[in-house]
C-alpha cells in the first residue's frame, strides 16, 4: 500500500488510508482551525504540532487507533474528532505494562 501516489501539494493534513481514524498533520494546526481538504472537513479542537496525529473520527475508549489501515494501539480514553491523538490518550497493544 502506497500512502501517497501524487504530490500532496499544500496539504495541511495527510489521510493515509480510508480505514484510518487519524490523519497526520503536515503543518502546525491551531486550536479551532477548520481544515477543508480532499473533500473532508475537520475542525481541530486543540493545537496539534506538525508530524502529530489528529482524530478524523470519534474514537471510544478501548477502540483501535488505525494508521496505514493497521492497528497501532488503542485509545485509553474517548477521543473526539479533531483532537490531538498521542501518548496522553493512546497506548500500544504490545509490550504494554498498563494494568488491566
Amino acid at each position: 500500500m502506497r500512502p501517497v501516489s501524487s504530490p500532496t501539494g499544500q496539504r495541511k493534513i495527510l489521510f493515509l488510508n480510508p480505514k484510518d481514524n487519524i490523519a497526520v498533520c503536515l503543518a502546525d494546526i491551531n486550536a479551532g482551525e477548520k481544515i477543508s481538504q480532499d473533500g473532508r472537513e475537520i475542525s481541530a479542537v486543540e493545537a496539534i504540532p506538525r508530524g502529530h496525529k489528529i482524530a478524523t473520527a470519534d474514537i471510544a475508549k478501548g477502540d483501535g487507533i488505525i494508521k496505514y489501515g493497521e492497528r497501532m494501539g488503542h485509545a485509553t480514553k474517548s477521543i473526539a474528532t479533531g483532537s490531538h491523538v498521542h501518548t496522553h490518550n493512546v497506548l500500544g497493544d504490545r509490550l504494554s505494562t498498563e494494568s488491566a
Binding site: 501517497v4 500532496t8 498533520c25 497501532m72 497493544d93 504490545r94
Partner: protein
C-alpha cells in the same frame, strides 16, 4: 519500468560475490590494537579501520563475536584485510573461521612476532601500503543486478519516516529485488506490531512462521526481563516527533522493505544464500545492525533518518535519506537525499524512490556518500548477554 541491463560496475570476488569498494581493512582483534589500526589506516590512502571493545574474552557471546569478526573481515567490499593480533589461539581461531567464511585474503600481523608495538605498526603500514597500491590498480567490470546486497536501515525515526523516506526506499528496494538483487530488512524490535503483514508476504509459509517466531522470541525475552520497553521505544525523540506507540513506529519502519515477497529469515550476521528480500534478526541499535549487515555480505546500505543520525560503516557505503526537509536541507554534510519533498508536496513517492534507486547505482559505481566523506566508520559488537564474565 522494464528490467534494463545493469549499469553497475564492481569488483568480482572468486566466490561469485561482488564488491563496490576495494578497501584494505585494518582489523584489530584486540581492543588494545584499535588505536594502532586507526593510525595505520589514516596513513594509508585506500585503507579503513575499525575499533572495538573486545579484548579476547571467551564470554557467553563469544560465538556471536567470533561470527561477527569472521564475517566482517570477509565483506565483499574488501580487497584484503590486514588483521592485527596479539598472537593468541583465540585470535587464530577467528582467523581460521574467516578463511572458511570467504576467500577474502587475510594478512596477519602479530604483536608476538613483531616484538613491539612500533614494529607491529611499521610492518602493518608497509603491508597495507603495498596492498592499497594493488587494490587501486584493479579496474571495475560490469556487474549484474544480483551483485547488489542492499541493507535497509532507519535511525532517529520521526512521524515522517513512515510516509516519506521509508516507503520511498521501499520503492527502490522492490525494484532491485524484482531485478534479481538481495535486500535485507532488520531490527526485530522495529517490526514488532507489523510482523503479521511481513509474514503474509513470505514466499514459503515456513518463512512467515519464522518471521512471527523471531518477533515472539524477542517479545518473550523482554517480558522475561520485566523491562518496560516503552521507556525506550518509541524513544523520547520519536515521541516528540509525533510517534505514539511501538506499533506505529514499526508499521512505518517496515515500509523500507516495500511490497516484495520475503525469501527468508536470517540470524544475526548470517549471510543470505540466494537473491531476494530477507529479514535479519538484529538489535534496534543502529551500529550493531550495520555491523551485522557488514558481516553478512551487505555491500551497500540506505539509511533513512528523521533526526540526521551520523552513522556509517568502515566497509559499507551508507546512503542517508532525510525524512523531512527541515532537517534534510540543513545537515548537508550528513544527508545524501532529502525525501521530505514528499510531505512538502513537491515530489511523489515514486519520484523519490527513483532518486534513491539511481543513487544506489551511482554510489555502487564509486560515488562517495556523505558518511564516507565524513569517515563514519562506526563498529559495534552485538551482545545478547552482559560483557561480564
Amino acid at each position: 519500468m522494464s528490467n534494463s541491463t545493469s549499469p553497475l560496475l564492481g569488483y568480482p570476488r572468486p566466490d561469485g560475490r561482488w564488491g563496490f569498494r576495494n578497501h584494505i581493512l585494518i582489523l584489530p582483534l584486540h581492543q588494545a590494537l584499535s588505536t594502532a589500526a586507526r593510525d595505520i589506516a589514516d596513513a594509508t590512502p585506500g585503507a579503513v579501520a575499525i575499533s572495538h571493545d573486545w579484548s579476547g574474552e571467551i564470554e557467553k557471546d563469544f560465538e556471536r563475536i567470533s561470527k561477527t569478526f569472521a564475517g566482517f573481515a570477509g565483506n565483499p567490499n574488501i580487497f584484503t584485510t590486514v588483521v592485527l593480533t596479539i598472537g593468541t589461539e583465540v585470535e587464530a581461531g577467528i582467523i581460521e573461521r574467516a578463511k572458511k567464511f570467504s576467500p577474502t585474503p587475510l594478512v596477519e600481523v602479530k604483536l608476538s612476532d613483531a616484538g613491539s608495538m612500533f614494529k607491529l605498526v611499521t610492518s602493518a603500514l608497509e603491508k597495507a601500503g603495498e596492498l592499497a597500491e594493488k587494490a587501486a590498480a584493479e579496474s571495475r567490470v560490469p556487474a549484474p543486478w544480483s551483485s547488489v546486497v542492499l541493507g535497509l536501515e532507519c535511525g532517529g525515526s520521526d512521524a515522517y519516516s513512515g510516509i516519506t523516506a521509508n516507503p520511498a526506499l521501499g520503492v527502490a528496494s522492490d525494484r532491485l529485488v524484482e531485478f534479481g538483487a538481495t535486500s535485507i530488512l532488520a531490527e526485530t524490535m522495529e517490526i514488532l506490531g507489523a510482523e503479521h503483514l511481513l509474514a503474509a508476504r513470505a514466499l514459503d509459509p515456513k518463512v512467515g512462521a519464522q518471521i512471527i517466531e523471531v518477533v515472539a522470541r524477542y517479545e518473550r525475552s523482554i517480558n522475561y526481563e520485566g523491562i518496560d520497553i516503552r521507556g525506550a521505544q518509541p524513544s523520547r525523540g520519536n515521541i516528540e516527533g509525533g510517534l505514539s506507540t511501538l506499533e506505529e513506529k514499526s508499521l512505518g519502519a517496515a515500509k523500507k522493505a516495500g511490497n516484495a515477497p520475503f525469501t527468508g529469515v536470517l540470524e544475526y550476521a548470517d549471510r543470505p544464500t540466494a537473491p531476494g528480500l530477507y529479514f535479519m534478526d538484529t538489535p534496534g541499535h543502529d551500529i550493531e545492525q550495520l555491523t551485522g549487515f557488514a558481516a553478512a555480505d551487505v555491500n551497500i546500505t540506505v539509511f533513512t533518518t528523521g533526526r540526521g543520525t551520523p552513522t556509517g560503516s568502515a566497509v559499507i557505503p551508507t546512503i542517508k535519506v532525510a525524512t523531512n526537509s527541515e532537517m534534510g536541507l540543513v545537515l548537508t554534510d550528513l544527508i545524501d537525499i532529502n525525501a521530505g519533498t514528499i510531505s512538502d508536496g513537491t515530489q511523489t513517492l515514486e519520484e523519490v524512490g527513483q532518486i534513491i534507486f539511481d543513487e544506489i547505482v551511482r554510489v555502487a559505481n564509486g560515488h562517495l556518500t556523505k558518511a564516507e566523506h565524513g569517515k563514519h566508520h562506526e563498529f559495534n559488537l552485538s551482545r545478547l548477554y552482559g560483557s561480564t564474565l
